[in-house]
Subunit: 415 residues, 2 copies
């Protein structure tokens, strides 16, 4: 394949993670390493706020901004999305206004001589990559379009796991160790319900139990959206646990549903009414808290781990940051070598000791699909994960990131 | 003063913190250092679950459990209360059953030849220390009774700050840096309300702004219980901030109240109703979230930082752990030298550079009082903290604790 000379653009899209900037740093490192692309890429642009910013030509010169290696290292440790993000999905070509958007994008690519397009994101972002791939196929302006995965939800198919997930998993695993110990100090019966992100897949919630295979400390039960939630079973579980010890800790995915398909927070019928008469559903944890209070009557509290799950870069997984950088670098190299219309993947090596390689696969086969937790990782009763699951996750959370701190405050990058 | 030979007992009481075990470690280190007490203390007992456990003679031999230095170091990094805790307040002597409880305690002290009593806790615990001090004064069985402060709320008088507060403050300061960056990635208008612990004093909430004097990143507004909360002013503040940038982040103490004395969560009238018809107040953050949604109509979310504020030992302040150990050690030394019926204090040195010494003061003058945030630390409008406040707090969060991790999971002590 002949060398395709031109400029490149990279964007970040969808929900932020603690590692999406590490992937951006990987793309920058790949670009700065001229050997990795044979000097094919002239300028590396960053688009602000994903395709939203690209459409208004809001571009920055990343090579100029990240001329110093220490700044790239800082970027690797910075949470959220340094370039900004967006939730914009490109329209279908045959939708109204669709043709216009793509024509405008092509115009911008030509104007800036952009031949390489790297898009770091999750499911919706891969949809954008797939559509743009499809569109540019039909044009003589040659482009290499690559999707680079990230999502804390770990729900992309094809890849062993997604960059960003291990750091979120580590935050959850560590925080559960701390919460369980905190809850254990009193002798009065109490139930603590920890609500974890993940509407369609329970991967993040599985992480709450990882510690069990290391030191035996884990929640009493783990409820995932992969299994139907039964209120009866849940109350029976809580009662059984309270028989064993006074302090019961439960991890539950925000996405658990009853047999009739309703989310638990809908199905229990807990709702909030404000002074203006508006009603609004409470979260899953809160709904279960009120249910346990009413049914069992002991002390109950719920904790929503919330945003820190995806932005707690101070306790990011070193393994995750390493892989996230690698996948970004690999994307640049692969594109220069001719790859296009593919998403990069992390492949897990065979053998006892954990290892990974970077692969790729057709992005159109990845977009808009959901990878749920494997059956073998969920116990028979559907109220816990298996030790196999914990052992599968364990190597992903290896190593504690060490962002630089200045006067006790993390020194994160601002672009 | 003659040497008082005998055994010692130490207990932990009230809400756990990330540093209360560091203080326990300090007491153990002080005990193991025979020179510091002239060999006066024979055995150091730990009471499980504070005075609750003491009353049922649930004692452990801490010298035997912590024979290895590395185990004491692990203890220093372990969150929650390794001995367990309780919420029990001793009755007044003239209350029904009061005399009995104290007689029982004295009996236990005599049985185990306990002459030294160290109690690590907050306001309620100092009340216990004060009452026990008062009772034992009238008996010929000589005892030395010392209160050792801890509370994330930082609301004890007499001491510059309380052990445990700096680590909670660090968690809040670091997490706010991460949340603010996470919230900044989108271009659509959104308000994020972060609810922080502290019913009576706003110290923990002030910590949300510390970063401002380091890198300029801080919440748009900070609302403390030290100032009356006005819904009108709040809406005006939010609107003004939304004019300036799309992503508004607000820190609010759970304890803010309206002019009529009602908590904001009561006053707005947001309540939850479960399927059984029970009503329950939502949190302050949730109440304000619903209010902003109804009044302003933009995207709003609320985050309750919850338990991790007091148990996130993985990001504890090194300064806090150092001081917490020191105050525990100092308690042993001071008691051996004759001090009794006092609470240990942390005193801030004069001069530009931060320094501290350990002092003490009459515990009966400390119990049941509340130290609120100084006027000079709150801005005139009552919706933010001053830079002076941030600079006051900054040295307390210096240094990042480095608990040992095994396979990515923190290696915390279990007694």
């Amino acid at each position: 394949m002949s060398i395709l000379y031109g400029n490149a653009v990279v964007g970040q899209s969808g929900g932020p993670t603690a590692a999406i900037n590490a992937t951006l740093a990987g793309v920058i490192r790949g670009y700065l390493d001229k050997d990795s692309h044979g000097g094919a890429i002239g300028t590396l642009y960053g688009m602000r706020n994903g395709v939203e910013g690209l459409l208004r030509e809001d571009l920055v010169d990343l090579g100029a901004i990240f001329a110093k290696d220490e700044d790239i290292t800082r970027l690797e440790h910075t949470p959220a999305a340094a370039l900004g993000s967006c939730r914009k999905k490109l329209p279908k070509m045959d939708e109204e206004g669709g043709e216009e958007v793509y024509a405008r994008l092509l115009e911008i690519f030509k104007k800036y001589n952009i031949r390489y397009f790297f898009y770091i994101g999750g499911n919706d972002s891969m949809d954008t990559v797939a559509k743009l791939s499809e569109y540019t196929k039909g044009h003589e302006y040659e482009m290499r379009i690559i999707g680079v995965p990230k999502t804390i939800d770990n729900d992309l198919v094809g890849t062993d796991h997604t960059p960003g997930f291990p750091s979120a998993a580590k935050y959850i695993a560590v925080t559960m160790q701390e919460i369980i110990r905190d809850c254990a100090v009193y002798t009065t019966k109490a139930v603590t319900i920890v609500e974890i992100m993940g509407r369609d897949s329970g991967w993040l919630t599985t992480a709450s139990a990882i510690g069990r295979v290391v030191n035996g400390v884990a929640p009493d039960y783990v409820y995932l959206p992969e299994r139907t939630f039964s209120m009866e079973q849940f109350f029976a579980d809580v009662r059984a646990a309270l028989e064993k010890h006074p302090n019961v800790v439960i991890a539950v995915s925000e996405g658990v549903r009853f047999a009739d398909g309703r989310y638990v927070c809908e199905g229990i019928g807990v709702e909030s009414t404000d002074a203006f008469g508006h009603k609004q559903l409470s979260g899953t944890g809160k709904a279960l808290e009120l249910a346990v209070k009413a049914e069992i009557g002991c002390k109950v509290r719920s904790i929503e781990l919330n945003l820190p799950q995806r932005c707690a870069a101070h306790i990011a997984s070193v393994q995750d940051l390493t892989e996230s950088v690698s996948v970004g670098r690999a994307a640049v190299k692969a594109a220069a070598e001719g790859l296009s219309r593919e998403m990069m993947l992390i492949l897990r090596g065979e053998g006892e000791e954990y290892s990974f390689t970077i692969g790729h696969s057709d992005v159109s086969e990845i977009a808009n699909k959901i990878k749920v937790v494997d059956d073998k990782f969920i116990n028979e009763a559907g109220n816990d994960v298996t030790d196999d699951c914990c052992r599968y996750l364990l190597p992903l959370i290896a190593g504690e990131a060490s962002p630089k701190f200045i006067q006790g405050i993390p020194d994160y990058v601002v672009i």
